[in-house]
Symmetry: C2
Subunit: 462 residues, 2 copies
């Protein structure tokens, strides 16, 4: 801290009285809150606060409003596009001490949690109920953070994203008021849908202080299947047909040849090196078996090279562990290199061509890379291996990632399927949303006239 009396030093002094040692200005804690998992330049907050209650969040936001100081909510720090980087300094509001599971209501298939609760923490607490919180973005993210980025993952094709799984919120708005959005009813035709306005707003409209989330029954039986195809188009067409047939696949993950080769190498799966789908089916014993049989039939009609299904829990665990280890498997291709990750979503009819074009880009570049996808949703990720110390690599990766997005937008898709806008994708907001960006900005200005909530991000884009 310097001796100069600035707005931020006034806000910090005011909050120190309230929070004591839960307001931290040490270099190490500020550094931890200066970045997320992205490659983007870090920026230090002036202080980090660790509130425990909604009232404390109200006091923090009110103090920052009074002094015009930025507030940047921070969950588990697992965001991937720079969401939590406090690019204009101010206060990083870390929700880790708001980690209480407030209520579990099995009959209503819902849980009420504070924003710092992580998805794994909630699922541990649910163990006795036979229910699960379904959204799984890979990282053990905070549920508040997952709501803020409208996160999803492998199970969203069946159980939905955070959009479908957040029923109600408590939010501290930029003027320090606490509001409730939504209710515990499963549906409602009452009032503007503020819940969905806050879900995905990346901390630019307020601070989420409580979430009511949907739970789903843990299925009686689960089975998996692995299926390889001669081409990407065959694989995608098989998925389209399975979905059109009404088979409620619980997961269907695409891995391209390079991803299969690296996972073979890392996880010793011994799979044919070809475009591959990992399926998971949920249901009763009989229904799971029937789903696998129906999908096998469908894949045969699309020239599948092989179809292997299993209801064995160990074999299934091995398969999904390999899928989850893909990050490490890919990094292992060139030791010391980093993964540069892309994320777009297209209408599923345009998925095959989008993947093929992204693959061709990689093959024509000097970089190695792979493509994986939550293919039932039309969502896929590119991962380029780059030497973090080589600016040419970064430039080449940037250009390729931009082309993937441009092509997605050209076919009616979106610049982000699940990672969000953060900082890295601000440049696509106007292109994707056109004049709707002006409506977004008017909403931002109406709710946050001082511009204190996560400034320079989604609310100010385009």
């Amino acid at each position: 801290m310097d001796d100069l009396v600035t707005p931020v030093s006034k806000a910090i002094a005011q909050l120190k009285g309230l929070l004591g040692d839960r307001l931290v200005t040490s270099a190490s804690v500020r550094e931890h809150h200066s970045h997320d998992t992205s490659r983007l330049a870090p920026h230090l907050p002036d202080a980090v606060v660790f509130p425990r209650t909604e009232e404390e969040v109200q006091a923090i936001v009110s103090a920052c409003a009074a002094h015009g100081v930025p507030v940047v909510p921070f969950g588990a720090g697992s965001s991937m596009e720079g969401h939590t980087i406090p690019i204009r300094g101010g206060i990083s509001l870390d929700t880790r001490e708001m980690n209480r599971i407030v209520e579990i209501r099995p009959e209503d298939l819902l849980a009420v949690v504070q924003p710092g609760v992580t998805r794994k923490q909630l699922n541990v607490d649910l163990r006795e109920t036979g229910l699960m919180f379904s959204v799984d973005p890979g990282a053990d993210a905070s549920i508040g953070g997952m709501a803020s980025t409208r996160g999803s993952g492998t199970t969203s094709v069946r159980y939905g994203t955070m959009r479908e799984n957040v029923l109600a919120l408590r939010v501290v708005t930029p003027d320090g008021e606490a509001i409730q959005t939504g209710s515990r009813a499963r549906k409602s035709s009452s009032g503007y849908d503020l819940t969905h306005l806050f879900v995905g707003s990346e901390g630019t409209l307020g601070v989420i202080t409580e979430l009511t989330v949907r739970l789903h029954p843990i299925p009686e039986a689960i089975s998996s299947a692995i299926c390889s195809f001669p081409t990407v188009a065959n694989a995608v067409e098989a998925v389209i047909e399975a979905v059109q047939y009404g088979i409620p696949v619980a997961r269907v993950e695409f891995l391209d040849e390079v991803a299969i080769a690296s996972t073979n190498n890392y996880s010793k799966l011994g799979l044919p090196v070809a475009p591959t789908l990992f399926f998971e089916f949920h249901g009763t014993e009989a229904w799971v078996k029937e789903q696998a049989q129906l999908v096998e039939e469908i894949t045969k009609g699309h020239d599948a090279i092989s179809f292997r299904w299993t209801a064995d829990a160990d074999e299934r665990a091995k398969l999904w562990q390999a899928r989850h280890d893909l990050y490490w498997a890919t990094k292992a291709i060139i030791p010391g290199f980093e993964l540069y990750t892309g994320d777009i979503c297209v209408p599923i009819s345009r998925l095959a061509e989008s993947i093929v074009a992204a693959r061709a880009d990689i093959d024509a570049s000097s970089l190695k890379g792979q493509i994986i996808g939550h293919v039932g949703d039309g969502n896929f990720h590119t991962a380029y291996l780059i030497d973090p110390n080589n600016p040419e690599h970064l430039k080449e990766a940037d250009e390729m990632a931009d082309r993937v997005v441009e092509r997605a937008l050209a076919v009616g898709g979106t610049a982000s399927g699940e990672h969000g806008i953060g900082i890295a994708k601000l440049k696509f907001m106007r292109k994707e949303h056109g004049k709707a960006v002006d409506v977004m900005k008017r909403i931002k200005a109406a709710l946050d006239p001082l511009g204190i909530m996560n400034p320079g991000k989604m609310g100010d884009a385009g």
Copy 2:
């Protein structure tokens, strides 16, 4: 039209040049647009317009903005709480000539439609595709109107409400701009979720000019079941257990004893006069059979009096026809009387007590009435039979309906499950949403600073 030059006469003169005989000021057409299906007092619009294109909607809204004249969107006129009544006069914007199905994309499980397309019209066009538009509010409503009221119905327990089934919109905002919200991708983490802000906003934030809606595969097999219980609680607990078990019931409708008696009388069903569930199961032949068996087991555990299931299409059609004819069956109880309909939604754990209390209210009143419900969602409707010429009846019905809502709000429910706020439920907005109403009003003021879009309704509530 009078000779006085008023803002509205100027707007009408301006629009007459654009629309010719698609701007109508005849008494009969104005009368038709002065009411909906509710008991609420009608109010005449000054004129009714029938645009065919988004550009025409833009011109209409721009002219109304220029002269400060209200614009009230009108679909099929089947709303139930006064949504479309132009209580401050102005222009009723009827979307019936915007009834083109723009595009059907079977591979992407979506259709693009103009707002005046009705749900039945879309389903006729889908016949060759094996797909269906699932939302069924009973009436053959316009899809634009269903989106505006966040409508739902019997199938929402499985396939979702309009909230889950609208993927993207085109909207003319109150300043006459046309924007696109959402995309054709099934999921997105890009930008504020404007789609969900407009869905359910009851024409107070803009005019919907195009909708991208989700489609679902028509199931290979469908079966139905009817099950009677000694008490409401038994019936509701059976539903809760079935849902917790993970059985994806496609419909589950509750009818109380009075509803069963009237449907027996009207549709000759011969059912036991007891709290009853109508189930429908969708899936493959084997899976549908298994679902029915599992549900039968579950209902036995909750003291079911009888369980009758059928995969026979004619018997099923008869059953659901009877459910759809309930309106007429109930009206037939006392010829000349009208139905006064209520609509709330509660967490399902509070459903049994809510229904029992609503039933006790009716039994203690001078009126006859019944209760039916989309019970898998916790949504139920009260219907009181009133003599429309007896103000005492209306007063008694008003008081009972209010108590149903008050009790729903007290247990974490909502003032409307699917009929919306309109005029009739404005008085509950502040009670349900608290300070969130101020956020809604700030959004309304930011998007519609002149207050021309359906004024005096949801955007100005509380």
